[in-house]
Symmetry: C2
Subunit: 383 residues, 2 copies
DNA sequence: AAGTCACTTGCATGCGTATGCAACACTGTG
DNA sequence: CACAGTGTTGCATACGCATGCAAGTGACTT
């Protein structure tokens, strides 16, 4: 789909007031003398839309280069010149056209941010904090929300079309074709909360396996011996690592039974699966280890309101992420934290490294979270 | 802040392998014969980064125009030509540079989306669904996350610098200076979940006043007579309208007492304010009307876990929005829905109208939500 | 057979900015 | 006073693509 985008009249040049082709509009129209031509209601820009650096140059009586240099960091401009340019710019309401600038500099200062499932408050928090941080250092953020139907590859090819400076994929897996696509086009890719076997792209993630092990040990230490794992999306690195952490902790102890159901990191799915398991009653868990908080909320609600079970008295529940609602008292969820501020910091750091040297080796940052003990899991002495 | 963006080496031309200035590189470098020059590891594009339409044209043996027309909707290209171009493009991995295209067409196909506070799941849902819809019709979404510290005007001036096709402000108020800025630059502004007195920009919102009245009547009909209003941010249109709806319903009935506290649409603030009120005990409400769901969650938690009150047996709570967690069984919140899909649809419709005719009159769409009766408020017969 | 019309194609130009180069102005040193 | 050095400025060009115009090609009508 290499089309023009939204289907709109292909005419272009919405500013051409007269019918004649643009290249016949006499150059005089560009001068400041024609400001009131046609009596348009906009500011001083006349009929030609926003003022350009040439307009400013003419008004200030300097060259276009001087205007450009005034707004280019590190360029050398005399104080006098700068003042005249700034005065003229203010009068015309001039602002540099970032699109044109990008064409020259080959840098857009736009970072792509792909995310799937903002309904999960943890992802929403990542997006918000990442976006804030990027804005703070002068980047713009182009948001890609991925759904199950969207062909993520197709969509993200646009990253290349737009020549974005980098692509951050938060909680989204990377297809190998996209990875190589970006790589061959020199667009750095940073994975957040995912890892990949594809080399060439950086990643920032939490120590999922160690965290899950720590969490599992806590659960087991509290005296639980029949643990149910509510798995996330099967193919994701987070699910694999967390499950590995859990099962290794279980394997290290005698007499702990393990069962799993598939929650797919989805609220409804988790609720349905837990209901099905409990009605089947083949396996009656005394603790439920959810691959993330979001599913834990669904599970807790199902346990309490559909099955009349008390949490944690009748059954314990733990999650992973420490997302916002985990600390809401209705859930008060024991979980393992993914420290978003640190993850954001790592992303920024990688980004800046890459910006300075596009050929820098990809980095893989693993951040340690911590066990967050709240009330959804019976503690050691509560038995 | 009209600088070059992130502070990076201002050198540019990262592709210039040799030290000589670009304009001395012989034209031959542009031809396909020089593909293997310098043995770069990228695909067939040689040393010059991504392939351009000129590269494709040379390889296909046609003019650059032909390449451009192949990827321009509505342009006329012969089947033979198109085939040759596509073959060449595939071989070179060519993708049209949208930046360059934008410079010509004066349309970026990028929509700005400003939002404040993604922690509120309702806002997160708006962003997700809006973004999905925009992507579906070929737009890109540039996300602006506003915090209390960000100077929204300063930040959003960049909308103009980037020549975005439109700006959508979701749950964010519009400063008049920004409004006029956009207007004078011909950038359409659409407010979602806010209205404004500034003319010139469109808006999409729910019938806040009517909804609040309906909700209030339901609460009163259930027998409540001491209603506490947890206000949202005082200056927002939503808060004003909802409070007006509530107080008018109260005024219409005899013997209903009213009190208010300020929650500022914030989770913690609401919890603190409710605690303070209940400990002061000047006013003991039998129902709490929260200006949005998000605060209602905080309030319910505070009531239940800090004050030992049962909801709805001891006290009723209602919210506004019908955001995701409102249907989570821990809250099971009675609320008034803001139908996001319809709001999104309205935004898209306005956008397309504006795209076809930039001078179209601004539209103000008001959408009807509906009363969502759940379990957080005592019903008529439950007394 | 000449004319008409629809469709393609290439040429040339322009979108708004950044930047290498050369020319210049000015300061301070020997 | 000549000269090197530092800082400014304008000129010209390029970034990659879209598009008006004119020229060209057939097909079809009269």
């Amino acid at each position: 789909m290499l089309t023009n985008g939204p289907s709109l009249p292909a005419c272009g040049h919405r500013n051409s007031v007269v019918k004649s082709p643009l290249n016949r509009i006499p150059l005089e129209l560009h001068t400041s003398e024609s400001i009131y031509f046609k009596g348009m209601c906009t500011l001083a820009a006349g009929t030609r839309g926003p003022a350009t650096s040439i307009d400013v140059a003419k008004l200030a009586g300097v060259s276009q280069s001087a205007v450009s240099r005034t707004y280019t960091k590190g360029a050398s401009v005399g104080a006098e010149t700068r003042a005249r340019v700034e005065a003229a710019a203010a009068k015309l309401g001039y602002r540099p056209n970032l699109i044109a600038r990008s064409l020259m500099t080959r840098r857009t200062n736009i970072i792509g941010l792909a995310v799937g499932g903002l309904a999960n408050p943890f992802y929403a928090a990542i997006v918000e904090q990442l976006s804030n941080a990027l804005q703070e250092i002068g980047y713009h953020v182009l948001l890609f929300t991925l759904t199950d139907e969207t062909d993520s590859d197709e969509l993200l090819q646009q990253v290349i079309n737009l020549r974005l400076d980098a692509l951050i994929m938060a909680s989204v897996s990377l297809s190998s074709s996209l990875a190589s696509s970006c790589q061959s086009n020199g667009i750095p890719v940073i994975l957040v909360n995912r890892t990949t076997s594809a080399d060439g792209c950086s990643s920032v993630s939490t120590d999922n396996e160690a965290g899950a092990t720590m969490l599992a040990q806590y659960v087991i230490d509290a005296g639980h011996s029949r643990i149910l794992y509510v798995a996330g999306t099967e193919t994701t690195s987070t699910n694999l690592e967390r499950e590995r952490g859990l099962t290794s902790a279980i394997a290290a102890r005698d007499g702990v039974a393990f069962q799993r159901i598939a929650g797919d990191y989805d609220f409804k799915t988790s609720a349905q699966e837990i209901a099905q398991l409990l009605s089947g009653s083949n396996f009656v868990p005394d603790a439920i280890f959810c691959a993330n908080d979001f599913m834990a909320f669904a599970v807790m609600d199902a346990l309490r309101f559909h099955h009349g079970l008390r949490v944690p008295q009748d059954i314990s529940v733990v999650g992973f992420d420490d997302s916002g609602p985990a600390s809401w008292l209705s859930y008060d969820l024991t979980t393992y934290s993914q420290p978003i501020p640190q993850m954001v910091e790592a992303v920024i750091s990688i980004l800046q490294a890459v910006a300075q040297n596009p050929d820098a080796a990809p980095q893989h940052v693993v951040i340690s979270g911590e066990l967050i003990i709240r009330g959804s899991c019976r503690g050691r002495g509560d038995g």
